[in-house]
Symmetry: C2
Subunit: 273 residues, 2 copies
């Protein structure tokens, strides 16, 4: 059982985004991230305004918002400050170093300017980390690598996962953890690697209390399975919190509170088990 508290782990991280996330989790008593995957800016902001008090993090896909404007990012940043949550643009960068550096810094979205954390697939090899780090490190941003996925038939298994952890281990100042289904400390380590005190943040999608799948390959586990059973740090929940009618903000807030409580209860159970 993984027994380290969020508070005690702050000292294990030099990356400002990782430290901020752990600090927020501790002071808000929340390990809940809400994934806001809607296509209208108004719905996007309404959901964030409803769930803000209960989350340590908002996960975004800005590239699905049809009426995106740069001002939306400023509003998101204001909500981040008001409610005290990290922003995680779930971009899943997966190109060569030169291209991901442009995609991260440039374009319409300029993700590096506003997203505390983003993520990348390790599949292109170490250059994907090098490219993103060349943009993000100086801005105090952090990167998560996709070591595992929660979809049926995902190819993130065996040596693929081990190689992801090796890439992270070689870039501890920038790669702060993983999208994964279990803890990753010591995974893929060689006999000469000193993994004492190794500490990766584990963010876990595919969490739900009421359903088991989305009909498009996504598979769900409960907060307790993820936090107690698998030792993960942050539970990522989407539709389970906000459903399909985004005008029901009181109901959405209630669901966020419910997931926050379930996630934190599971964390306390793990600490005291």
């Amino acid at each position: 059982m993984y027994k380290h508290s969020y508070a005690s782990r702050i000292q294990n991280h030099t990356n400002p985004a990782a430290r901020l996330l752990l600090e927020i989790m501790e002071r808000k008593q929340s390990n809940l991230a809400v994934s806001v995957d809607v296509t209208k800016a108004q719905d996007f902001l309404a959901i964030i305004d409803a769930v803000g008090p209960y989350v340590c993090m908002i996960k975004t896909h800005v590239d699905v918002i049809e009426d995106f404007e740069p001002s939306l990012v400023r509003t998101l940043q204001a909500l981040s400050a008001k409610y005290d949550f990290c922003i995680f643009e779930d971009r899943k960068f997966a190109d060569i170093g030169n291209t991901v550096a442009l995609q991260y810094a440039s374009g319409v979205y300029k993700i590096a300017e506003w997203s505390h954390l983003t993520n990348a697939h390790p599949v292109p090899g170490p250059s994907v980390v090098t490219g993103l780090k060349s943009v993000g490190l100086q801005r105090g941003r952090g990167l998560l690598l996709l070591a595992e996925m929660s979809t049926a038939g995902a190819l993130t298994t065996g040596s693929y996962t081990e190689d992801a952890v090796k890439m992270a281990r070689a870039n501890r100042d920038f790669v702060v953890g993983f999208i994964a289904q279990r803890r990753m400390e010591s995974v893929g380590a060689s006999k000469t690697d000193d993994t004492t005190g190794e500490d990766f943040l584990i963010l876990t999608p595919g969490v739900g209390l009421d359903v088991k799948g989305d009909g498009m390959g996504q598979q769900y586990r409960t907060p307790r399975e993820v936090v107690v059973g698998a030792g993960c740090d942050v539970i990522i929940v989407g539709r389970g919190v906000y459903g399909t009618d985004y005008s029901l903000t009181a109901k959405i807030a209630g669901q966020a509170k419910r997931y926050q409580d379930e996630g934190w209860k599971a964390y306390l159970e793990r600490l005291t088990a």
Copy 2:
């Protein structure tokens, strides 16, 4: 040696985007795709206008263009019609089915509305194909899977590549080929799979005549190595064609002609070897 001509292979494909690409290759005598990775719309259009006569395809990363406007897409489509080339948005989709469907159809870019071909990493498992197909098939679009990458340390090896080909084989109406470094017919086939007449388009990045790498993990081969040696169909060239001064349009056109000639010469050598 892979001896089938582009013209003879049209009949092997039902997908409209695959057929269009093969038709263009044959009538323009070009297997050259130019990858236009610049951050200003003016440069983007100037390069395409210069290389248009020599290419079968323009490969885009629209999300690196800082002053993107929907009108840019309409101009790109007009150039596609004027010069007779396919558009391939190199998006490298790599998320769960529900998310990639939104990213493909929605957002600022609405890629499915204008890009004949796009691509995806197989890493999330079959749902990434299902999600994209639910949007693209009805629009006559085609998908390429990233079976291999040209970067140092890429994880696209062994069973990963085989699983990519299996996903394509299960979706022949929509998955028309691969980003890869070699031919993929019969790869990963089981004894019960009938791979007679299997025909995948192979598009190959990392092609250059003058340099060997970009300092960020990208590795280059010559058109002859790629087309004759490895049997690939389309060579993808970026900086090798347009360099760093985008105002030198005559020089850029000259380089595109040079790569077109080298690529087609290699193709004829393969056919007659």
